[in-house]
Amino acid sequence: MNWELIFWNAIYTAINAGAAAMCIVAVGLNVHAGYTGLLNFGQAGFAAVGAYAFAIPIANYDWAWYYAIPVVMAASVGLSCLLGLPTLRLRTDYLAIVTIASAEIIRLFANSTRFTWLTGGSDGKQGWTGFFLDLNPWPNGGRYRLGAQVFDGYRLFMLVVGWSLVIIVSLLVWALMRSPWGRVLKSIREDEDAARALGKNVVAFKMQSLVLGGLIGSFGGLMLSAQTQSATPGQYATNLTFFAFTIIILGGLSRVKGPIIGTMIFLFVIQIVDNVLSQATRNDKIPGWMATTSNYSQVKFIVAGLILAALVVFRPQGIFGDRREQVFDVR
């Protein structure tokens, strides 16, 4: 077994462009679920809208990337309004139902054969990342190393762009959440009737939170597809939302650094289990009833799930959370 590669590949997976994109998606969800208490189970939908709203104008209509950015923002805000206006007056459970359903509608739409001309169908949408290749200051075909892991110049560029974006959105969220605006969001999470009784327009604040977190999630989705140079429906399945939830709980809900460290731990655990099982099954180091070369990728989620569950059991507040917050009886 090549332990060196097992380790370095897992490290690379935890910090590569895909990790950065996942982290941005989680930062957006943290605004919803962590700070405002909005149960958004459809963050994958916001991410998908971001990727496709960027890819379609460029690939189908030859738009410049800087014109496609406003399209991404408009589409994301539009989705927020569509989801928020009917549900934010109701209890949060309704938002959860509506968001999970809408995320699936968006994914199935992108997957459908009828709209292949628009979305690329299940093969994915390509031909819109040319400007990333052009902008790259490193040679796209260049070879770079992280320990035993080798990757090309394009992935290096996307890694840098991705984590730069993470820093920008994290700073934005930090600046917003220390302000009186952020205080109102947190008070809505704790008890929205109390906020109402103090003269806060709760629905308007929830809407702003939904739009902000959705926008961040959409840019995360854009990066998620840009680093693979293809927007595919499979990237936006419901498990993206639940991975994002795992990440923010792991890092600590409503903590700015939470999603960053959460992403790294989450992806490292998943990938190292994957690598170990993959090599062990190929070299017959593991009995066949436990895992084989054909089923280890399912087994990895069982093992990784147990590890993550253990982390949460021993540190329920997450890495950066405050243990004292756990003892309060919050509905």
Binding site: P180, V184, E190, R196, L198, V330
Partner: protein
């Protein structure tokens, strides 16, 4: 309405349900709310005098909290209008009611557990520039105001003896301290009318005394207080005027002395004839005491006995 009358002049107001006050801050007209077939609130007319402490009492289920919810916009009435300080507030959402200066607390305290005590207080301040999303990320648009708010909050925490808990989580406060925090937080909005829903529920006697003083101080500051309470000692001690509700209606009002002798109020709380021990009297005596017609009663009893006899007879017949 004649504003030149001093608040104490409600002493001259006759204790009649729905009576007009010399200077009312809140006037409600035919407010009605039904839950299915149950009419929870049906108040024809009620006024609250400015600058006074008014108690709202009544047995459980009288509709006191429902009336609170209606007046503050937390619930929508089936019918009715009310004016607060000259503004029509019927149908307004809670945040607009609060911004007008009519602020409430809750029966079950709503402290924001995972915010610190001082953050709870700061939240209460209205017209915060930093609550606008575009102004929020930059500090300069709101830092000066935030400092003023914090000063005001600290002064209130001092007054409510919560200063030592300033930076702790509100979730760590005791039940009584949460009541104090909620009242202090409501004061951050600078209300002209503060509505307290059972401020004494679950508060120990020592804290109760200090809560009383705090409420009296609100009046001294020129604020109007309307509170729901079950603790009659407290009602007697601090209220200038008492409104009594039963089964959704305003059945009596007056000073606490006028109310304590009111036949209707006693009936509403204890049931009519609560002072009659029917079991200890002869039948005729009991019937007379309850104010019923002896002949009617004996007829009814006879009728019932017959019906019972028929019924058991039939059952025996079918059983055989």
């Amino acid at each position: 309405m004649s504003g030149e009358l001093a608040p104490a002049e409600t002493a001259l107001v006759p204790p009649v349900p729905g009576v007009a006050k010399p200077d009312s801050i809140l006037v409600a007209e035919s407010v009605r709310r039904a839950f299915g077939g149950l009419v929870a609130v049906a108040v024809d007319h009620v006024e609250v005098q400015r600058g006074q402490i008014t108690a709202l009492i009544g047995p459980n289920g009288a509709g006191k909290t429902t009336l609170f919810n209606l007046l503050t916009g937390f619930d929508r009435p089936d019918a009715g209008t009310w004016r607060f300080d000259g503004f029509d507030l019927a149908g307004q959402p809670p945040h607009k009611v609060a911004r007008r200066g009519m602020v409430r607390t809750f029966q079950l305290t709503k402290s924001l557990a995972r915010l610190s005590v001082i953050e709870n207080m700061r939240l209460g301040a209205t017209k915060q520039r930093g609550e606008r999303m575009w102004a929020a990320p930059w500090v300069f648009p709101w830092s000066t105001q935030e400092r003023e708010i914090t000063e005001r909050a600290d002064a209130l925490l001092e007054r409510f003896r919560l200063a030592h808990m300033r930076d702790g989580f509100a979730g760590n406060l005791s039940g009584g301290q949460r009541k104090l925090l909620e009242m202090a937080r409501a004061l951050m909005t600078e209300p002209s009318l503060i509505m307290l829903d059972e401020p004494m529920a679950g508060v120990n006697p020592v804290l109760k005394q200090s809560l009383l003083e705090h409420i009296l101080q609100l009046k001294a500051e020129g604020r109007t207080v309307l509170f729901v309470e079950h603790d009659m000692d407290m009602v007697h001690e601090i209220s200038d005027w008492v409104l009594v509700m039963a089964e959704g209606q305003l059945i009596a009002e007056g000073t606490s002395h006028q109310i304590s002798g009111n036949e209707e109020v006693i009936d509403a709380y204890l049931g009519a004839h609560h002072d009659v021990d029917i079991g200890a009297m002869s039948d005729t005596e009991a019937i007379r005491k309850l104010g019923l017609d002896e002949e009617q009663v004996s007829d009814a009893v006879e009728h019932l006995a017959e019906a019972h006899h028929d019924d058991t007879g039939e059952r025996e017949a079918s059983g055989a």
